[in-house]
């Protein structure tokens, strides 16, 4: 018997298994072939298409649309995967509303873009369902490259290097490869264990081995890697999480949103996953929205996103904000956490209204208290555990060109590296481009 939404505290089993299953199905169900043909036919095959320019991986979108129209979704999938080997995941998680679909001329014309994301999924699924791997490995070069981190950047880099005939060893600190695709992406965007299926499919290129539980700084050192490998690619992500500077931040019930999301992604039975009755998520990015929506889907009664600036400044796109709202999440803007109150465990959060003058944020002194037995901190991640000796740019590894760090023979890409947005698709582009540069360097 489900506990129900109004059971106090942080408890599991608020909803029945059936309700949970239904809540965590695909956000956007896959297109059927006829739907896909009709949707692809809406593409105008623009000259020098804006959608391609907007795609960090430069996928030839008009071409793959035409291939769907012409009845060859597998060929469309190959067009996508040749540019973006994680095109399947990107089809699911890309904020297309701020990338390709935002600039689609049909968005301009009628406020309704070609459904590029869903069609990309249709095309890439048709390749992966068939089980075949359309790319081949070149003759072995005898070179071996170390890739640190099996997230999107690392996987994209490894695949491209493997295609060129290099051997690749991926060192991954967590038990499973995939990075944020596996541990971070909203569960309703990547169902049926897609992240692992995608990694398995990617590995079919051959020449790549993954060593999980291999942590940089613990047994593996950058110096050692440089010595033992012909090149090193760092894609270590942002392992640190920013601290919440508020009184009571150490109370039970206060935790990092990324950990909560990871728990949801890794849960074998969602009915065993506890969630609060009154959940407050601090932050305004995609992580905040993901954590808030997941809390609601798990059965929390009240879920509030508390963001210190206005709506326009939120990192989450308007689509993501609306997604949260449609799930019953309340979005409070211009409030910042001051204290979490409770006797040992969080019970109430105290927020202060803010105002912004010339970009500088300050509290107005007006307070509001709302019930909060669970507080999820989504206030950003930071670079943690970057090896000594690398030049940093702000709090990221400084790179120039195609991911070249300040150290010879070491490249970096993905969220840990400077430049670009922290998106899966950007990480893929950076990993791929670094691989091209590594290859050029190795064979020169």
């Amino acid at each position: 018997m489900a506990q129900g939404q109004i059971a106090p505290g942080i408890v599991s089993g608020r909803l029945s298994s059936d309700e949970l299953t239904s809540n965590f199905t695909d956000l956007h169900p896959p297109l059927a072939p006829h739907e896909a043909a009709v949707a692809a036919d809406r593409c105008y095959f623009c000259y020098d298409a804006p959608c391609v320019t907007a795609c960090p991986t430069d996928i030839d979108i008009p071409l793959f649309m035409r291939q769907i129209q012409a009845g060859q979704p597998e060929a469309a999938g190959e067009t996508i995967l040749a540019q973006n080997i994680l095109g399947g995941m990107c089809a699911r998680v890309c904020p297309t509303e701020t990338l390709c679909e935002e600039v689609c001329v049909r968005e301009t014309a009628e406020g309704s873009p070609v459904e590029i994301g869903r069609l990309q999924r249709y095309a890439t699924d048709s390749v992966m369902v068939g089980g075949s791997h359309p790319f081949q490995r070149a003759a072995p070069t005898g070179k071996t490259v170390a890739v640190i981190g099996a997230g999107p950047a690392g996987l994209a880099c490894a695949h491209r290097l493997a295609m060129f005939g290099h051997d690749v060893v991926i060192h991954e600190s967590r038990p499973k490869p995939g990075g944020l695709n596996e541990y971070g992406i909203a569960a309703y965007k990547s169902t049926n264990d897609f992240a692992q299926a995608e990694v398995d499919w990617l590995m079919k290129i051959g020449g790549i081995s993954i060593e999980t539980g291999s942590v940089l700084g613990e047994g593996v050192s950058l110096d050692g890697l440089i010595e033992n490998y012909d090149a090193v690619f760092l894609s270590i992500g942002l392992a640190g999480v920013n601290a919440l500077r508020a009184q009571g931040a150490d109370l039970d019930g206060v935790r990092h949103a990324v950990d909560f999301i990871s728990d949801v992604r890794q849960a074998s039975d969602l009915s065993h996953l506890p969630v609060g009755r009154n959940v407050v998520v601090i932050g305004g990015g995609m992580t905040a929205v993901d954590a808030a929506v997941k809390s609601k889907l798990l059965g929390a009664e009240h879920v509030t996103i508390a963001y210190r600036r206005g709506r326009d400044a939120m990192g989450a796109s308007r689509f993501e904000q609306d997604l949260a709202s449609s799930h019953g999440v309340k979005i409070m803007t211009n409030v910042q956490p001051v204290a979490v109150h409770g006797n040992g465990a969080a019970a109430v959060i105290e927020l202060e209204y803010t105002s912004s003058h010339d970009g500088k944020l300050s509290g107005t002194g007006e307070m509001i208290r709302i019930p909060a037995d669970q507080v999820l901190k989504a206030i950003g991640q930071n670079l943690d555990g970057a090896p000594e000796g690398l030049k940093l740019d702000g709090n990221k590894i400084a790179v120039s060109g195609a991911g070249r760090t300040s150290m010879g023979g070491v490249w970096a890409g993905g969220d840990c590296a400077s430049g670009g947005e922290d998106l899966t698709v950007t990480a893929v582009a950076e990993g791929r481009d670094a691989a091209m540069d590594i290859h050029a360097t190795l064979v020169s």
Binding site: Y44, C46, D48, A49, P50
Partner: protein
Amino acid sequence: MADLTTNFLGISSPNPYWLASAPPTDKEYNVRRAFEAGWGGVVWKTLGSEGPPVVNVNGPRYGAIYGADRRLLGLNNIELITDRPLEVNLEEMARVKADYPDRALIASIMVPCEEEAWKAILPRVEETGADGIELNFGCPHGMSERGMGAAVGQVPEYIEMVTRWCKKYYDRPVIVKLTPNITDVRKPAEAAKNGGADAVSLINTINSITSVDLDTFSPEPSIDGKGSHGGYCGPAVKPIALSMVSEIARAEATHGLPISGIGGVTTWRDAAEFISLGCGNVQVCTAAMTYGFKIIDELTAGLSKWMDEKGYTNVSEIVGRAVPNVTDWQYLNLNYVAKAKIDQDECIKCGRCYAACEDTSHQAISMSDDRVFEVMDDECVACNLCVDVCPVDGCISMVPMTAGEVDPRTGLEVQRDYANWTTHPNNPMAKAAE
């Protein structure tokens, strides 16, 4: 409300829409449903001679061409004439005509090219009370292999001969249905007229193979792995039909010969276009086969609304209105100069006009870094391709230049006077203006 009542060859019908001789008109049941739905007339499915009827294939009779959302654009069929006994059809026709005296009922006939065959069937058709007959000289598949249908329609002498027999043994209007599978449609039309035909109807279907199955390499529609060309119809054939109708309407030998227009009539607008090119009425088949008889409501309401808007009170006022504007290329005004103009407020920046012009035409559209597309008047020949490929209705238009302006492409002043190829200096056959 405009009056849609049409009088074609003295045959009155409440509207100009007849169902063409085809599967929808094969029997009493269908025809009664059509009349109940509001169709103005019906050309009954083609009758053959008395005796064992023809047989049809027992596999697919139709093949289709689709748009992206399976919108049917073209249909191909290999069905033959009626495969029901003659006497059954004649009895049914008589019953239906008696019950619907205000509707047109035409008998379509196809019998061997022998006078005796026509002499035998015509009196029996007359007994049904049918308002007239249509001679099926158009069917391109199956029957043509037996010396009937298109095999007759492709030989003007046969058309004239058979038409003459019909006028001899039948007192009511005789319509000759023409095949488009011929080089010059004016010749069979003229032959029909010479034989005494009261009207021609066109077009019948066009020889076609809709597709090839790339696994079996069988043409479609496929009967046990083999295919035979069928007759193509539907929206895709309308332009061909309009052209053929116009040729008959404006040819000296056939000008004024009543025409029943056939070929892809799908909406009221198609009908109005056929009528404007000289048709006294239209016949519909594929649209009804695709959507059912209920489309007659849109066909009639749409035509009526348009006529009201234009101030026409009777269909006869529209007949042939466009015919004087159909001419030969050599008489087109070469002093008419237009330039494409892109409405920047409407432009959605897809660049299709640019790709079309740059790759396949006259390099007359420029593209800026921020995707502003503009016509270069000094290169534009006004070919209209940009208008045709633009996905936004009304975004690009062809704007005529006024006399006295200088065409930046040629550096010549636009002339006020009409001038055509026949007097053009580049024409070796030009006659000097006198």
